[in-house]
Each structure stands twice: as C-alpha cells, then as structure tokens.
Symmetry: C3
Subunit: 317 residues, 3 copies
C-alpha cells in the first residue's frame, strides 16, 4: 500500500478488518517492522484523538515519530508557479514538501476543508500535493473530504459488535453550533457501502452529501422512520454540501438530536459518534452514557486502524 | 502504586528515598520495565523543569512519551451533565478523559489552581476526574494544591545533604510580583512533616496555609527568629489561603527577601528553592549563587523523583 | 568535539566530509552510540528543516530527543546580576541554563540575531552562555552570526557535485522583502574559505559582510562578472552588516534575482540555496526547478551534517 486516503486503498476489506483484529490482539507483534523508520505527522489543523492514536500506533510498530504543527495562518505556502514571492508566503510547496519527505519514511497529513472553494476542497489540493511531491507514502489524518482512519475504526467497531451479517446502519445528521466539514460523513458512507451494509442516511432537506460517497444508500428525510430497525446509529453534524449553500449552516433544529425515545425505535441499536461531541445538541447525556454507547471503544479503535495502515505502508517500503 | 498525588501514596518514605538514591546511582537499570509502555503528559499550564525532567525519567525507563499541551483558554472542557453544549466548550470531560486513557498506560497531569473558587481548587477537580475516569494510573505534575514530584525531589536533596538525623527545616514566605498558588508550600510542608523533620513555617500574618498540610509545624511570624539554628531554608512565595483573601497578594514586603545576613543566623543552612526564582525578590544573588545553594542539585533530583514514581506506577500495571 | 559553532570545531575538514559521506551510506551504523543519551533541542526561533533534520539525525544515532520551543516574547530570561526581578522576566539564565543541562547529554540551540545591538548579536551572547553554563556539549542550530550545520551540509553537497578539485563558488546577494540575518552567508563564506575553494562574494555596495567570515574572498559588485566561470552559485539575501546600517534593507533591486540568463554565464554551475526561498525574488522558477538546482539534495544533507556533528559530540562524552 503506497497511500491511504480512501477505502479502496485497503483492497480486500474483509482481510483488512481481520488484520486489524489480529493487531488488536497483540499490538506489539511487529515492533521490528518500524525500526529505524520515521513517521512525520503534519498538522495544518488541531487534533487530539488523531494525534495521540496515530503516534501510539507508530510507536507500537517501533517507529520514530516527529510531529509538526503548522499554524495555518502563520506558515502560508505558496502554491502557484510564476508568482513573485514578495508577500506573506515565505515558502513554496514545491520546496517544502520534498524537503519534508527527505527526513522521514512515511507522512501523515491533516488538512481540513476551508470552505473557501468547494472545488479546492473536493480536489484535496493539499493532500494530493503531498502524494505527488513528497516521494513518500502519504496517509490522511483527516483531509478536506474524508477521514478514512476514523471510518476504518468505525468499521472495526461495527464488526466487533454486529449481530447480523449485514446490519442496518443509520448515519444521521444532528445539530451543531458551528459549520463542520463533510469529511467524516463522506468517509463513513463510503466505508459502509464498501462493507456491503444496509446504509440509510438521514438529514433535513438541503444537507444531501456528495453522491460519490453516499452511492446507493437510501436517503431518508424522516429521522424517526430511518431509525426503525437500525442496528447502529451514527450521529454527526455537517454543513451543507450542495451549491449555492456549500459550507453553510441551514438548520440547528434540535428535534434532530438523538435521544432515548428515538433509540427506542431501533433494533436495540448501538450509538456511535467520532468525538468530540456536543452533548444535548448531537445526542442526549442519557444515550451517550448508556449501555449501548460505543463512543469510547470506537475511539480506542483509532489506534488499531492507524496501526494497520502504518503496518501496510511500512511493508511497502 | 496506582496513583501519585501526595506523600501517603509512596508508603514507607524511608524505603522510597532509598529506592530513589539507587535509581540515581544507575538510572538505566530498568530500561526494560517501560518497554512498549506509553506515558501521556498533559499540560493545562506551561512547564520547563517538570516537562523535561519527567520526560527524561520516562525515557530512562524505556517508555514512549507523548506530550499534549492544552491551552487552557482554547480547549475548554465541559464538566456538568445536562448542559446543552452550544457554546465555547466543544468536548465533555466524560469523553475526553477516557479517550486519552485509551492511548497510553500512565498519565501525568499538570493543572494549576485558578483562584476562581477555593473549593474547586482544593477539591482538585481536574486531577480527581482524571483519576476517576481515565482508567490509568495518574500522577500529579503539579496540581491546584500540591506539587509532590517537587517535594519528593526536595526530600531526596535534604537526605543527601543533612548532617543530623532530624534537621531543622524552615519554609519561609518571600515576596513576589504575582499571585502564586500554594501547591509547592503545601506539599513541602506535608512531606517535611511526613519525614519527621523539625519544620518551622514563617510568613507575614495572613499567609497561613491550610493546616491539613502544615499539620503540627511551628508557625513563626518573625522570620529572623525562625532562621535561628536552621539546617535548611526553603524559600517560596504564595498568595493568601485564608478567606476572604484566597488567592490575593497581601504583602510585597522586601524585608522578607532571603539574604546573607539572615542566612548567617542559621546553622550554616543550605538554601533551597523550587525554581523559577525571582532574584532579589525571593533571594539575593549572593545567597543563590553561594556555596550553600542547592537550587541546581534540587532541580536535578526532579528527574530522580519522577523516575521513582514512574517505576512504581509501571510495576503496578 | 565539545562544541560546534564554527568550521574550526570540526578540525580536519577533509576527514569530516569523509565521515559524513560514510554516515550517508549507512546512517544506522551507530545506533548504539546514542543509547540512553538525550538531545535537548531548544528553539528561541521557529524552524522546519533544522528541527526535522536534527531530530532525525539524533534518532539515527539511537538518541532520545526532547524539543523545547521557547516563545521569545513569552519567556524572557533575565541576564544581568543585581537586578530586582519584579518585572516580566520570571527566570534568570544562571538558573535556567544549568537546569536544562541537568536533563540531557547534548544541547542544540537556535537563537537568531535580533538586530537590536550589533555587538550583542556578534558576541553570540545567548549561545555563549549555553556553552559556559550548561555543563553539556552545545551545538548551534543557527545562531546570531552563523549557521554551521547549513554550511556543513552545503560543503558536503559541493563535494558530491564538484568536477574540479578547487571549484569556483559564487555567493550572491539577492533581494528579499524582509531584513534577514547574516548567519547563513557568514558561515557559508567561512566554510568555503576553509575548504580552500575559489570564493567570490557578490552584492550591491553597502552589503559587505564581516571580513572575519569572508576572509580573503574576492568581493565583486558586478554580479554578471562574478558569475563568469562559476561552478556553484549560492544565492542568499541578507541585511546590511556595516554601521550605521546594521540590520537594514538597503536594496530590493530585482535585477539581482538569479535567472537563466545569468546562469548561462557560468561554467554550467549548480544552483544552491538554503531554503526557504522566495521564488522570483531570489531566483526564478526556471532556475530553481531546473536540472542544475541542488536545493533539495542540499536540504537532504542537513540530516547528514547534523548526524556527523552529533556523532562527534557523543564520542566526546
């Protein structure tokens, strides 16, 4: 595996989950694989779970880790050729990226959607430039349109808890005070489709996601109807994708908050969220603290998904 | 040992000091103990000595280390249940703490007194929540009311330099331009009492510390009288503890600065301070640079106290 | 080797380059040398290449690494004795430096010229105090007047690419929107002279460097004439050195930008720059992206120069 930005990069998904669960049983079985190998983690945006879980995963494999926080405001990279660089962008990405590649063996990049240009976000310009110019295997630690390490952890968690071969999985929009990227719901839909689950996406009208990710999933505007018979409920906020509202908040309707009454409509579903979560906006205290909440095991599996990805990238060196 | 927040956690203090001195003789004797073990160091407040000495101690034991700086302003954790989280607190501690616990084996936390509520500070709410919810052994890297790694290093330093079985140790208040927490003097008093030394605490009236820490120590308002016959002088500033002045500066009286004339009243005492120190406020250049100053050996012993604590926490896993 | 701040510290330069090239062939041949040894990297100024390449070099040698970013504004160290420290400088360097020395085996320091006082900059007050008070081998990660790790990497790169025993090397000033220190051109001149190359320095009048560094190099105010027959062209901006203009920008004349027409005057010269580089100010896109550009190999050799220096410092312990 030479890069990791989407579900297709993993190849056979069943094999990948099996490998992940084997790593989970003994996460120190491959400490020689990363010896004298260095991971560079590059953050254009802040991070808690991704930072710690990916660093832990790399150390489990015996790798050295370097973490670089790039204040998005402070270190502006010039991206155009031909520009006279006499302004506030002191370095061109055509130098910065290959130089960073010189000092490491694998690069993880976090770079969120900026909501300035839908085209720029959905072309994944930053991530793609790292893939093209760094000379190293690159993986996404959440990019503009996807968060595959999260979705892989979600998939592992569902595989650990499902009671039927093809569970019904509901991705539900929920309200939030800020405009959030579509990276998590995009990836989640993509991965659930790839796993062959019965995926239903529910949200208010106007919040339709890019069909490239949701694929053949059923879109249901009635949240209660969507929840009926669900085995897993995955809550997440996102801002609008469709033009002309890209990046905007269209609703903060708290009738979409996931609560116990709605969960009672399900097939005793497990509740999931990628965290951090706004309690009593996204989900009530009762549900997130209840016995069917998987938010902590899901977060714990971030270490496992990252370690599986890093193991495969190392094996390709 | 499952946590380290106060002197009682160490059990037999004589044995703990002996263990520390043995570690000091060969600090790489236990590099296998920490193999594949990860320390998470979490700073809600800035740090120089604690950061470097604790990280060094963990590496001496063969541990991996992850450091997370939490800007107290930027990452506000919600602590109450039932709140609709639509404001500036994006994450609830009931998720954040167990998630951090997922990615490590031991957690060190630094969280100073905020001087907003004496009750909140003296209940050690942040530290206690980590102990309760992280699922990992937790140790204090200076909390609201105590700094036990500092006091343990102070104790080791005194044991290395004392000339009598039960030395006279004087904890003296000294002036400072800012309002400082009571964590260091609280812990110092607690540890000196536990060691069975002859402890005298001297400060202007109104600066009395919580008797839970000072215990049976003699309180002396005449600094010169306190210094008579002292074997060790430990200088430190703190803000008032007693109501209604909690957290306030009552005096900046520079007649309390430790100088050579006062040190001449002692039994050729060693001078100690936890650093950083305001010269010519807390102590004169002459005394801190003099041959009886222990401030550097004391700082060096921070590595030893941290390593002893980490060794015991690792042994409990 | 007990310190590394200038070319003389390396001793026989030919032997040092040979050692560097041997390290480059197998950078993991000495992983035992750094075992249980800790490097402290201390940054008073921001860093990308130096941070990553030095950390990577230390890890190649099996060292542990601690990185401390000191916000120059936030942590002001008092440097004078006798001062009553009641202002905004909470710690004296006479405590801070030896304490940092306690927790590590080798210290790297980055501290740029401040352009407040030429004397203070050219006395290298910060770096020299670390050498004097830390009790540890100290190396420069770019100081006020020199950047020897960069120049060592430059030398290695020239040795790898030169076609004659004594190449003609041209150091050329080029325009830039900000006032930059003389550290890189100072060191470059010093190292090229030490290597015995045919060094020509070209710049507008008023930009003369300290002759302590340029030594016997020819100074040429006509850039085109300087380029004639050059084997290597090293571009760099710097602010004025001479009084009364120390630290000032005297020219932003873009006729000094290195372009293809000027490179055509050379002996098919290699183009070099330490990065980050302002394209189309310092050099055109065409030249920096062309087949004779060495900027990326030069940056890659930063790992090698740092590793050679660290290896020698470790061998001295």
């Amino acid at each position: 595996m030479k890069k990791f930005t989407c579900v297709a990069d993993l190849g056979d998904l069943r094999a990948a989950v099996a490998e992940a669960l084997e790593i989970k049983r003994d996460r120190f079985a491959h400490t020689e694989l990363g010896r004298n190998r260095t991971l560079l983690m590059l953050f254009f945006n802040s991070s808690l779970r991704t930072r710690l879980s990916t660093q832990k995963a790399a150390m489990n494999l015996g790798m050295n880790v370097m973490v670089l926080d790039v204040n998005q405001g402070a270190w502006k990279l010039e991206t155009e050729r031909g520009v006279v660089m006499d302004g506030d962008r002191p370095e061109h990405l055509l130098e910065a990226i290959p130089v960073m590649g010189c000092y490491c063996d694998v690069i993880g990049v976090r770079s969120f959607a900026r909501f300035e240009s839908k085209q720029e976000d959905y072309e994944e310009r930053i991530l793609e430039q790292f893939i093209r110019y760094s000379g190293r295997p690159v993986f996404s630690m959440e990019a503009a349109t996807g968060h595959p390490l999260q979705s892989f952890a979600d998939l592992i968690t569902i595989e650990e808890h499902k009671r039927t071969e093809r569970p019904k999985v509901v991705l539900t929009w929920a309200p939030h005070p800020k405009a959030l990227p579509q990276a998590v719901p995009n990836s989640f839909a993509e991965w659930m489709n790839a796993a062959g689950y019965d995926l239903v996406v529910t949200h208010p009208e106007g919040y339709e996601l890019d069909p490239r990710f949701t694929g053949g999933a059923r879109i249901e505007y009635d949240q209660r109807r969507a929840f009926e018979g669900a085995d897993f409920v995955y809550a997440k906020n996102w801002a609008a994708y469709r033009d002309p509202n890209y990046g905007r908040i269209l609703s903060q309707d708290r009738s979409w908050t996931v609560d116990a009454a709605k969960m009672a409509l399900t097939n005793d579903a497990w509740f999931m969220h990628c965290l951090p979560v706004r309690r009593n906006m996204i989900v009530t205290d009762e549900v997130i603290e209840g016995p069917r909440s998987l938010v902590i095991p899901e977060a714990a599996n971030r270490e496992i998904s990252a370690q599986t990805v890093l193991k495969r990238l190392l094996e390709s060196l």
